[in-house]
Amino acid sequence: MYDLGYLMVLIPALPLSAAVVTAALGKRVLREQSHWPALAAVAASFLASAVLLYRVYEASRSLPPGSTGFQQTVSLWNWAFIEGARPPFDLAINVTLRADPLTAVMLVMVTLVSTIVIIYSIGYMRGDEGYWRFFAYVSLFVFSMTMLVSVSNFALLYVFWEAVGVCSYLLIGFWFHKPEAAAAGKKAFLVNRIGDFGFALGVFLLWQIFGTLNFESVTQPDGTVVQGILGEQYLQQGYPAGSSTLLVAACLLLFAGACGKSAQFPLHVWLPDAMEGPTPVSALIHAATMVTAGVYLVARCAPLFLASQVAPYVVAAIGGFTAILAALIALTQTDLKRVLAYSTVSQLGYMFLSLGTCSLAGVTAGMFHLFTHAFFKALLFLGAGSVMHAMGGAIDMRDFSGLRRVMPRTHVTFLVGCLALAGVVPLSGFWSKDAILGALHDRAHEGLDPWIFHVLYYLGLVTAVLTAFYTFRAFFRTFYGPERVPAEAGHHAHESPSVMTLPLVVLAIGAAAAGGLQWWFADFLGRTPSLSAPAMKAAGPAVGFHWDVALLSTVAAAAGIGLAAALYLKWRSSIESSAAIYQSPLYRVSWRKFYFDEVYLLTVVWPLRAVGYICFFLDFMIDNLVNLCGWIPRGLGIVLRPLQVGLLPFYALAMVLGLLVLIGSLLSWY
């Protein structure tokens, strides 16, 4: 079993070494070849992840029925140890990596999408002056992300949670000389900090409740066993009842962190702005991988959330609300990447909605949607990047149309992505969305509080209609209608090079076919120890296919697509010339993103800025007081300087006078 441990270490270690090599040699030595270390390392990391997945699958399949799932950990070194930090518990933070089905799936997804995006970036970023910097950052990100899903301890999870945040910040502000990019990077970082603050508090509370931060139980050298938060004992026998209030608080705080990272209401405002970064970054970090960290966190802690009883409702409600809110905003956006960004927010909301059911079916459906979404959303972003590349950097859909002949390969692959996102049978999005709706449906018909899940179920259906509509609105506006290209593109608007379209094709295949993995995926994920807990199983079976749900969701997708086709293919000219629509209040509310930025400006930014000004004034006063004190020594200096007259007799006199003063004081004491 040692080789599994080697693989676990190798997967993050390779990108890290690539980041170090590129950072050290990129600027002077590698220059235009800076992509090689990143590409080689991340591709190798993907292969290692694939082998790891296979081994974990083999191992989990050979388990006896009714076992508690498969996991293996490898402990590298002790990062921090405080004896008796909270008697009788020691605070021990071991750098421990874990392999279980959930981690294996995340690792494969992250490294696969990363590899594809890196290949794409070779074409997309060519000629940029920060070429080496880009690949150094991306390698660092892959390291951080693989560590995030591999670590087996909440403290380290927090560390890499922040690390991916830093990478995200660096990459959003990659073109930092653009003021919007710098501001967007700052906004992303600050909004994330709010969530991360909650996360940190949540981790503290967990320490307070459990006296450990480890996921799994650890046997100490003296033979005693420290029960991990997601360890055998708690999973099998349930969490202590006395701590339920604290547990609720801890779960909600952890979820606040997830809301920040995964751009859920009310912390969703940073993600659309993050599109200022290079498009491959939008695809990799802000669509496929990093933003799903919140989903991973909740999925990882599902038994904990379930035990807290209250938290799942909050997760589901926030997820459902975000899903429909972001979908409504996406209806009217004209920036292609922003449409996709709000779509990402909406789809992440879908995932949380699914996780909120806290049944095994819901969690696996949410994770499966995360998996398929990674393919088709990365595909859509890379397709948008391809359009942007051809249009000379223009990305507003009002500036171009009818590109299907100019960019045939981008057109076809983008269509596959749109169909998958809209949830059309038999593409991957259909299966994962259907699984989510099915889980909601089940939850609405059995168990506690059915009415909440009834509401959420129909919310999900409406969102599906909206999703199909805005997706195809963007598709039709970009690729159909009269052929127009913006001035920035010049006269040679053309298809992107194959180093960019090949990744599109690969992703399109994934987006089309990944749905077939659904049953295998759900079964495999169910062998994760934390998801195979009795409490989870009791909340519902893993997979159920509902013909009625499938039919309804297909109708929803068809309705959305049909509406988009009608508006943007048939009556396109009349829509675009109709001023009445653009003036209508509903349109404006959606166009201005429900005024969230303005509301935050008014309620958060300005008050804080006012406090800041007051503090600045106080600081100014105190500063000057301090400066005044600083003048005292100089003033003394002014007094003392004239004594230095330069005359020898005076110096001698001063010495004698000094002597006399000392003798005089001596005699006066006497």
């Binding site: 100089r634 003394l636 200096g637 010495m655 000392l662 006497y670």
Partner: protein
């Protein structure tokens, strides 16, 4: 001491072999200089002489106690090594000016001054001590005089000459009173007499021991440039070369502190009550005057002159603490403050010598760096020299992890460890807390002008590129100082503090007083200080 015993013995004289080698070297240079015309060879001869002296010192054992007038103890051994190492730095720094001018005179005088410093370190007798102090002073006059051939240089030499003579006279006057009171010039005997004495004798002496202490203190305060006996320093440093200023800032200070520790704190326990008051008062005045006036200086040698005055103030903190601890209460450790002072000497000497060496290197024989403004942009034009100078400045400012930090830390801690004797109220402890606070405030103020030098080097656009023609020898001298400062700061600091304190403890001429005698010393009748 047995009065019939020989005043000096062959064994005692043999202890001085290292000093004899250095003096022999000086004689060889002086005599040879009249025959041989070479100018560069004499520095090699001097270096060889110092190396031979080092070898001789290395083979010496430290038996402890006295051999006639020679104090063969750990303190002497430590200080001799310090002077010898600094001597090496001086020889390197002065190699170029010597070769440019009157090489035999410069080199020979320098060797004599070094020998004088080494003899001060081991003097256990007043006459020997005085002669040794003059062995430093007289060659220094020569060095100042031949250093530069302009009126400013002549003026500074004259100032130093006259004021130095005045201070020597005052010191000698103090020695006379000490001899008169105790009937001996031998420090061990003096310590014995001043410790084991009856109430009647003390009443008989009146204020004379304390008067002797004041006079000796004042005379030696000139050597270490403590206020108000410091006035010569800025004028003299400014008027001479960087190399001479280095010598003046370091060697007399080492000798002065060594003599103060040997004569006043260790040998005159009876007058310790006066001693701590004078030392504390002079420390406060000196630190403050030095630092406040330094804030205004534009000439870099003048700046360092005031810096060296301020450091004399810091050095006196340890002395004051040593005096106070001599008075008790039981368990007080005089060696804590005195050892801190000795350690601070080491730190100060290498930091200051290094700063002067760097400045000397940046100039040329014809034109030396005079103002701080000339250092502008040095971080770009001369990155290595700038970095070295910055390290010395940070060390002088007491920034961790450099040597100066450990020095100030040990001094302030020794002041804070002073305890009042029972029955005398809390006043002494309070005074020392005030002293430590004033010291810390002064250190903060001092950082202003040290960091201004650093800021000038790194944040201002380059003026005109410095010549940097000081030569390889002075660069080596600066490099040695840099190694010392970094080594002490990063590695050896705490160990050296402990070592110097142990050395001082092992070198007290008489064993520490017993509690019974303690009460007598500390009580009202024997001392004039109540």
């Amino acid at each position: 001491m047995d009065p019939n015993a020989a005043y000096t013995s062959a064994a005692g004289v043999l202890q001085l072999i290292p000093e004899m080698i250095v003096v022999g070297g000086a004689v060889f240079v002086f005599v040879g200089g009249t025959f041989a015309k070479s100018k560069t060879a004499w520095s090699w001869v001097a270096a060889a002489g110092l190396a031979a002296a080092g070898l001789a010192l290395w083979t010496q054992k430290v038996p402890g106690g006295f051999a006639g007038p020679i104090a063969v103890d750990a303190l002497g051994y430590t200080l001799r090594w310090l002077v010898l190492l600094l001597g090496g730095v001086f020889v390197l720094a002065l190699a170029r000016p010597a070769a440019a001018g009157q090489a035999p005179e410069v080199t020979g005088s320098l060797l004599l001054a070094i020998a004088g410093g080494m003899i001060v370190s081991v003097s256990g007798e007043l006459v020997l001590l005085f002669v040794a102090l003059e062995t430093i002073s007289i060659p220094t006059y020569v060095l100042l005089y031949v250093g530069r051939k302009d009126s400013a240089s002549q003026e500074s030499a004259a100032k130093y000459f006259f004021l130095s003579i005045l201070s020597s006279a005052v010191t000698l006057y103090g020695f006379c009173f000490l001899y008169g009171v105790t009937g001996s010039t031998h420090l061990a005997e003096i310590a014995r007499v001043l410790q084991n004495t009856s109430v009647a004798a003390v009443a008989d002496w009146g204020p004379l021991p304390d008067l002797a202490l004041v006079l000796i203190f004042v005379g030696l305060a000139f050597k270490i440039a403590a206020a108000p006996f410091h006035f010569y320093a800025p004028d003299v440093y400014q008027g001479t070369t960087h190399e001479n200023a280095m010598l003046l800032a370091v060697l007399p200070k080492v000798a002065g502190i060594a003599a103060l520790i040997r004569v006043t704190t260790l040998a005159m326990p009876l007058a310790a009550g006066t001693g701590w008051r004078i030392a504390l008062f002079l420390a406060v005045v000196t630190m403050t005057v030095g630092n406040m006036t330094a804030l205004w200086q534009k000439n870099v040698r003048r700046l360092l002159a005031y810096s060296s005055i301020a450091h004399a103030g810091y050095l006196l903190i340890g002395l004051a603490a040593g005096f106070a601890a001599t008075l008790g209460p039981q368990g007080s450790r005089p060696e804590e403050g005195l050892g801190a002072s000795v350690f601070y000497l080491v730190v100060y000497a290498f930091s200051t010598a290094g700063a002067f060496a760097a400045l000397a290197y940046l100039g040329s024989p014809e034109r030396q760096v005079d103002t701080v403004a000339e250092l502008a942009g040095l971080g770009r034009t001369r990155p290595v020299s700038a970095a070295a100078l910055a390290v010395f400045m940070f060390s002088l400012a007491g920034v961790p992890p450099l040597a100066g930090f450990w020095g100030k830390l040990s001094l302030f801690l020794s002041a804070l460890d002073v305890r009042s004797s029972p029955g005398l109220g809390a006043s002494r402890q309070t005074w020392f807390i005030v002293l430590a606070v004033i010291g810390a405030l002064n250190a903060a103020v001092a950082a202003t002008y040290y960091l201004r030098v650093v800021a000038t080097m790194y944040f201002l656009p380059p003026a005109k590129e410095p010549r940097a023609e000081g030569g390889g020898a002075v660069r080596t001298a600066g490099g040695l100082c840099l190694v010392a400062v970094l080594l002490i700061g990063l590695l050896l600091g705490p160990m050296l503090i402990q070592a110097t304190q142990d050395a001082v403890q092992a070198s007290a001429p008489v064993p520490p007083p017993k509690p019974a005698q303690q009460a007598q010393i500390d009580g009202a009748p024997p001392s004039i200080v109540r």
